[in-house]
Structure formats: C-alpha cells, structure tokens
C-alpha cells in the first residue's frame, strides 16, 4: 500500500434505502497534496466528505484518516481535520471573534496560543477590523473567509473544503485559492476539496478524482486526465468521462455493462 497516504478509502459504499449515493469507491490522498473531487451535482461528493468527517456512517468499506478509523476513533479523526462545509455553519448571533473563540475551545487550543492564532488568521482573511461585528451582518464572502479561518484555527493536518467557492465573486474566489495554496505549501496541510468548477480543479489541485453517480471514473493530474481522454481541455475531459467513455480501472464487468446501458439510454 501507499505509505505516504494520509487518507485511504477502500471499497466505500453508502446507501440511503435503495439509493446508492457512493458505490464501492477507492482512492488515496497523499500527505501534503491538494486533492480534488470533481463531479456534477449529486455525484456523491458531499456524502463522501460526510463519511470521512464522521458525520455519516458508511454502509460498507474502510476509511483511514491520518491513520484513524472514523467509525471507531471519532475523536482522533476529528482532531486531524478542519472543514469548511458546503453550506454556512457559523453562529449568526455571535461575533466573528466569538465564533473563533468557541471553535478554539471545542478543539482545546490553549488560551494564549488560541488568541494569537485568532488574531493572525483574522488578519490573513482580512476580517480583523470586523472582528467584533455580528456574523449576521457579514456578506457571503466574509462568512466563507471566516469559516476558513475557523477551519484552520486548530492547525489540522487535513483541510476539507466542500464546494467552498459557491456563491463567491471571482475576486474572493481567487483570494481564497491563493491563500489555500499558500497554506498547503508553507504548512504542508493536505487539502481535500470538492468542486464542480473544472477550472478550479485544474488550477489548484495536484490530483483530481472525477466522480459521477457514486463511482470514481478517473484519477490523475489534469494533464493525465487530458491524456487519458485525448481531449484539449479539462472540461472536455470531464464531459468525456462523465459521458462514460472511460471506465474506472476497478470497475467490474457488470459495472461496465451498467455504465454502457446508462450511456446508451442517455443517447436515446
């Protein structure tokens, strides 16, 4: 096995009643890399993140986060990561400062260190002068920045970003990604992000896993994906992949039949 992996997922499946949201997916994320889950809406990206972050129980399969099992070593897993959720998760009735303070206490960051980092992070995300304002007065971009600051407060080994740029203007988006890339380089934080914006995955991610209908259909750098699909842009590659011309290596023949049948139905 890959000894450098900080996230290992093997044959992970999640069913909601009859609906299979995630279907026997396997992948590794290496320590220190930026890894992107790229897929259309409803592909199973958020479900996977919820399982990795102890918020959902998997139906079957094994997961290791920083060497720990999210099913049985929840505490250790939770200490290992920071997360920016797809939808907001701040307390509107508290100030920016209080939101960070609450997080720091939950993650048992010692008081002095906590205060130091809170100031630092607020400076970095450009919210220092608004620290005593209630979050309910913040714009969408400001909230996102605050959530990112919060996700980093306890110096996690892994940062999960679930569609972090949804609803953000290009300026904020750029600012956010350069900050994340910086963190990744300087602090060696592993970043696991999901997005359905091709150009974002292309720009920031070292490796991309394309996920569709609960299956991983391809993994590789954007160059590798282009080569695999013989396309010029990642968008074409994405369409080629999610149009199911390429099979996941691990797919069984039954899967291939199913994929073929689906592709055929679509064409009709």
């Amino acid at each position: 096995m890959n000894t450098n992996a900080i996230i290992t997922v093997k044959n992970l499946t999640k069913k909601f009643d009859d609906f299979v949201a995630v279907d026997t997916i396997s992948f590794d994320v290496n320590q220190g890399e930026i890894f992107a889950f790229l897929g259309p809406n409803g592909a199973g990206k958020t479900t996977t993140i919820k399982i990795l972050t102890t918020l959902l129980h998997p139906t079957s399969g094994t997961v290791r986060i920083n060497g720990f099992d999210p099913e049985h070593q929840k505490g250790d897993v939770r200490k290992s990561f920071g997360i920016v959720f797809q939808d907001p998760s701040l307390d509107d009735e508290l100030t920016a400062w209080e939101n960070l303070e609450l997080h720091g206490v939950l993650y048992a960051v010692p008081k002095q260190l906590r205060r130091e980092r809170m100031k630092q992070l607020l400076e970095i995300v450009g919210l220092m002068d608004r620290k005593d304002d209630f979050v309910k007065k913040f714009s969408g971009g400001m909230r996102r920045r605050l959530e990112i600051a919060r996700g980093l407060l306890h110096h996690p080994k892994i940062l999960f970003l679930d569609e972090p740029t949804i609803g953000l203007d290009p300026q904020t988006r750029n600012h956010l990604w350069s900050y994340v890339e910086d963190l990744n380089k300087k602090e060696g934080i592993t970043v696991f992000l999901t997005t359905h914006y091709m150009e974002e995955a292309n720009k920031v991610a070292d490796r991309i896993a394309v996920i569709d209908h609960g299956h991983i259909v391809a993994v590789g750098s954007s160059a590798e994906l282009l080569e695999q699909t013989r396309t010029q842009t990642l968008e074409d590659a994405f369409l080629a992949l999610t149009g199911n011309t390429i099979r996941d290596e691990a797919a069984t023949s039954v899967d291939q039949l199913r994929v073929f049948a689906r592709g055929w139905q679509k064409r009709r």
Binding site: K50, L55, L56, S89, D91, E93, L102, V105, R150
Partner: protein, 249 residues
C-alpha cells in the same frame, strides 16, 4: 469542562442579546397573572380557596420556565437549519459534553426567565411567605428548567425541521402546562384528571414551587415532588444524550 462552559456561555449570550425574545416571552405569563389572577380572584376567594394570586403565581412561574426550557432545548432545530449544529458535531469532544453544555445553558436561561416572572408577580401583589425557602424555590426552578430543556433537546434531536414544531407545542407543551395544576388545586379532581395530573412531571414542579413559596400548600409533599422531579430529570437527560449522540448530518 471547556466545552460545557463555552456552550453554556453561548446560550446565555444568545439570550441576553435577543431582547425582543425576552420581552415577547414575558407577555404571556403577564397576561395569565393579570387576567386570571385578578379575573378569577374574587370567585376563587368566595369558594373558600383564599388568595388566588398567591395560588396562581407558582403556576405561572412554572409555565414560563416550561416554555423557555422547551424552546431552548429545541433550538437544536434552528442550529440544524442554520448550519451551526454541524460545527459542534465534528468537534473532537464527546457528544454528551455538547448536549450537557447546551442543556445547562438553556436551563440557566429558563431560570432567569422564571425569576423575571417572579419579580413581575411581586409587583402584581404576590408575597412569598418565607424568605428562608427562597433559595429552595430557586433550586426547584432550576431543576424544572433542566428537566424540560433536556426533554426539548431529546425531541429536537429526532425532528429534522420546523414542521414538527407546532405538533410538539400543541400535543406536548400545552397539555403539560394545562394539566399540571398550575391554575387549579389538585385535590377533589375527577378520577381521570387526577390520574393525568399525577403522571405529568410538571405537576410536581408546580407543587414543589407552591410548597416553598406559600406555606402548607403542597399537595404531594416536597419529598415526593423532589424525588419525581429528580428522576424525571435524569431520565430526560439520559434520553436527550442518547438521541443527541445519534444525530447524523
């Protein structure tokens, strides 16, 4: 400890900052005190029951505590809806710490609300008969607050959204309140009513509070009151902890 404290503090801050909520939730008890206290007072006295305001006040305080406690517990639905709940669910702390911090915080808020109603009753003319018993009264208010905040937490842990809220109000909170002896003496009730009031934990809260604020007015006796309240409180706390720890996002 840090987790419990910071979540307790959060509940308090949210309470102190929402002035409209404080004032709004005082309107109802005030209405009951004035309308029932002064409206039914003369006829209650003629029937030989004594001063109705003295009888009614512990009931109205309990009502305020019940409502605030249930709402505080059910704030989980709000937190789920606005997303903050997830932030606490992925934190590397035992779920029961989170549940306990929220519950003790909600209970503190409900107790504060009870004290404000107590102050309003004093203005309306209510007079506690023994100063020595006042700290006990405070303890009972907190016990009742804790019991119903935990119950609210338990209920909210299994509700996904606001849809079920009205149901809980009309089928749980209102019956708890109206069938507790907050307004009427528990002696000489028809059999069915007597049975219902006996299985309602709030009856024992009202009775205990009445027993400490007004001499010789306890129906069940303080010993039974406190036993039932304590047991119900522990059960609700356990149930709330269990259901809260099972929440998936």
């Amino acid at each position: 400890m840090g987790t419990i404290y910071i979540l307790w503090l959060r509940q308090l801050k949210r309470y102190v900052r929402s002035r409209s909520r404080i004032i709004g939730s005082l309107g109802q008890p005030l209405l009951f005190l004035v309308a029932l206290g002064f409206g039914l007072g003369p006829i209650y006295e003629k029937a030989g029951g004594g001063n109705y305001l003295q009888f009614l006040t512990p009931g109205v305080i309990s009502m305020g505590v019940l409502f605030t406690a249930m709402f505080s517990g059910m704030e989980i639905i709000w937190d789920r809806q606005f997303g903050f709940l997830k932030e606490t669910l992925v934190a590397p702390v035992p779920r029961w710490h989170i549940m306990l911090g929220r519950t003790v915080g909600g209970a503190t808020v409900a107790t504060a609300q009870g004290l404000i109603i107590f102050a309003m009753a004093l203005i309306a003319g209510f007079r506690p008969e023994s100063v020595v018993m006042l700290p006990f009264a405070l303890g009972i208010i907190f016990l009742v607050a804790l019991l119903f905040t935990a119950l609210g937490t338990a209920v909210a842990s299994v509700l996904q959204d606001f849809q079920g809220f009205q149901l809980i109000m009309n089928l749980l909170v209102m019956p708890l309140f109206f069938l507790s002896g907050a307004f009427f003496p528990l002696g000489d009730l028809p059999f069915v009513m007597a049975a219902i009031t006996r299985i309602n934990p709030l009856s024992y809260g009202v009775d205990a509070l009445r027993g400490t604020l007004v001499m010789n007015s306890s129906h069940f006796g303080l010993g039974l009151d406190l036993s039932v309240l304590s047991i119900a409180m522990v059960l609700c706390l356990l149930l709330g902890t269990y259901l809260f720890s099972r929440i998936e996002a």
